[in-house]
């Protein structure tokens, strides 16, 4: 994060002052619209279903913890959270590893066909992932990958690669040529240069693409829905959907399950927000 700050000179520290009341009024309104439905769900989890039926928009009276306890002990929540974590981490690792290797070549090597290869990858940005889902399912079935983590991870890695390369390439290109020459004079080959100099210097960009891949994978629904029929492999989004259609009358339970499912994403994002906005700066520069 500190490296990022030095790379974007326009983000110098400025004196922070109190805004005027209008600014705060508008900001509060924006925050309320964003957060009130979420709070409704989280607080609703502390009520009982009869309470909710009697007064849909009320506060818990009394507060009950049973719904959350029930979801955490009985519903497969932990299995699903574990599956989501394995798949999201595997996807992130794959995306960053394959993406940085390809982007490194596209950024630092001059060779015939380089721009063709780059265009070839960027074409993927135009491919709607959803459109390929049916043949993808058939292909994974033929590869005997259905009902495995790989059935979700491999396509997710593939579909995240174009954006990853588009974000990483300019970042890797911007690292001064002189560093590479200096490394060569010191006896470091290009691969050593990638490993020892490029990777540490491009950490902000790597973290950004990693976060984007992780969040996309953590939230994914359609692909897991089709390829993970086995309930023991279900991820959290599938769990939320199943729970809500299985226990339709247990409104309080659904609210609790939904709250618990959003918690990891919220916590994760709280820590990563600065990084995401910072990392996108390079990608959307005007």
């Amino acid at each position: 994060m500190t490296a990022n700050a030095t790379l974007s000179p326009s983000r110098r520290r400025r004196p922070v002052s109190w805004g005027n009341p209008l600014t705060y009024g508008l900001a509060l309104a924006v925050a309320a619209v964003s957060i009130v439905p979420v709070l409704y769900v989280i607080i609703g989890g502390f009520r009982t279903t009869p309470q909710i039926v009697a007064n849909p928009a009320g506060l818990p009276d009394p507060w009950v913890f049973d719904n959350y306890a029930r979801v955490l002990t009985q519903s497969g929540f932990w299995t699903q959270a574990f599956n989501s974590a394995v798949i999201a981490l595997g996807t992130t690792l794959g995306v960053v590893l394959l993406g940085v290797c390809a982007a490194f070549v596209l950024a630092r090597y001059t060779f015939r066909g380089r721009e063709v290869l780059y265009t070839f990858f960027t074409l993927g940005l135009l491919f709607p992932a959803g459109a390929a889902i049916l043949p993808l399912y058939l292909m994974l079935r033929d590869m005997n990958l259905i009902n495995s983590y790989f059935a979700v991870m491999l396509p997710q890695i593939a579909f995240a690669l174009p954006l990853t390369i588009v974000i990483l390439r300019p970042f890797l290109s911007a690292i001064p040529r002189e560093l590479e020459d200096a490394a060569a004079i010191d006896g470091t080959g290009r691969l050593g240069f990638l490993w020892r100099i490029m990777l540490p210097l491009s950490r902000p960009a790597l973290v950004t693409v990693g976060i984007l891949a992780f969040v996309a994978s953590w939230n994914a629904f359609l692909l897991p829905l089709l390829v993970l029929g086995d309930a023991s492999l279900h991820t959290l989004p599938l769990g939320v959907q199943n729970f809500s259609s299985q226990y339709t009358s247990d409104t309080a339970g659904i609210l609790a399950f939904t709250s618990l499912a959003m918690l990891p994403a919220l916590l994760f994002f709280t820590f990563a927000e600065k990084q995401i906005v910072g990392g996108l700066q390079g990608a959307v520069k005007g």
Binding site: R14, P15, S17, W18, Y24, A27, A31, V33, S34, I35, V38, N55, A57, L98, C101, V105, L106, A107, T119, F121, G124, L126, F127, P128, A129, G130, A132, L134, P135, L136, M139, P155, I157, A158, L161, I165, P170, A174, D181, I185, G187, R190, G192, R196, W218, F221, L222, L236, P237, V240, L255, M262, A265, L266, F269, V277, L280, Q281, V284, G286
Partner: protein
């Protein structure tokens, strides 16, 4: 990984080391050949994994979709019953598919028209320097971080008949507005457009804030010294500089809206969806191709979805994005 690499070293050593800032001196031709070979090994070694995964799981499935779409096929054994373009004809004759197309159009244009101005306003607001700004930004991004499924279930519970929204409306004397938000065939698509807007406007805000942080403060300060008001600065200095960011967001929003699936799938009642009131191309494709096992037909819908997205993307790029992409591909800001 050992760093020593004789082929990249000048054999004459430091004496003939190139002046700083210049490329290393030319090497004897034998070394050059070895160097070139080595370079190609590295290029191939480093790019092959990415190319293989990308081709296998992105490009090949699209090719298969095109092939399968020409058959009547239930997905068992290899497809044999070749029917040419009948699946495509069938799709365009199905009123539910045409409804799905209409719904996608509503979502594409509705998202652009609702999210754009809102996001711009919020981004300009949250770009001002005031205490607590970071917290407000965080809160504004919350809907975007939540999984589509979570958002869908959440709003389904809020919008349920006699649910909290209805109760809220009644308590503030607007009981007359109460609707069957997700079950009324005429209303459901607009309800879903609202939910999608709530969910995705944060993405537009994130992109615009990233774009805004690239606008040099000096420009705004100079305009302020010249006596320009805050509004004048935003209108004449900031907005024009945000052009590329806005166009990239429009592009991503359009492609996303064309393939929207998750929120619609978990929010809308299957019966309502199967009547076309809330179907999109993607839900129609999964309903028919996967769950009804009409694999040939489903793949034809996939190809239509792909072609529409692709043509829209090309047109957009041709007319609006060209300058931005040129900047991006050369790796320079334009």
């Amino acid at each position: 990984m050992t760093a020593t690499n004789p082929t990249t070293l000048d054999p004459a050593g430091g004496a003939s080391a190139p002046p700083a800032g210049l490329r290393p001196v030319r090497r004897p031709s034998k070394d050059r050949a070895a160097e070139t070979r080595r370079k190609w090994y590295e290029i191939i070694g480093l790019t092959t994994p990415a190319i293989v995964v990308y081709v296998t799981f992105v490009l090949v499935p699209m090719g298969f979709a095109l092939y399968y779409s020409l058959f009547r096929w239930r997905g068992v054994g290899p497809p044999t019953e070749y029917i040419g373009f009948d699946n495509y004809v069938m799709a365009f004759q199905d009123p539910i598919f045409l409804d799905a197309l209409r719904n996608n159009a509503i979502i594409v244009f509705g998202s652009l028209l609702l999210q754009g101005p809102v996001a711009l306003g919020v981004a300009l607001l949250l770009n001002r320097h005031f205490r607590g700004r970071t917290l407000f930004r965080l809160l504004a991004f919350v809907p975007y971080v939540l999984a589509e499924v979570t958002v869908g279930i959440m709003w389904k519970l809020i919008l349920t008949p006699n649910g909290s929204l209805d109760a809220l409306l009644q308590s503030i004397g607007l009981g007359g507005l109460v609707q069957a938000w997700l079950a009324d065939l005429d209303i459901v698509i607009w309800t879903l457009l609202f939910v999608l807007t709530w969910k995705y406007v944060g993405f537009a805000i994130i992109l615009l804030l990233a774009g805004l942080s690239n606008v040099p403060q000096e420009l705004n300060e100079a305009a302020a010294i010249d006596g320009a008001s805050w509004w004048q600065i935003q209108r004449h200095v900031t907005l024009p500089l945000l052009g590329p960011t806005i166009r990239i967001w429009m592009f991503l929003s359009m492609i996303g809206s064309l393939q929207v699936f998750d929120v619609i799938w978990v929010t809308s009642v299957p019966a309502v969806r199967s009547l076309g009131a809330s179907a999109t191309m993607a839900t129609y494709m999964v309903d028919n191709g996967f769950f009804a096992r009409l694999w040939g037909y489903g793949n034809a819908v996939a190809v239509i979805l792909f072609v529409i997205s692709f043509v829209a993307a090309l047109l957009f790029q041709r007319f609006l994005l060209r300058r931005d992409i040129q900047g991006a591909t050369t790796g320079r800001a334009n």
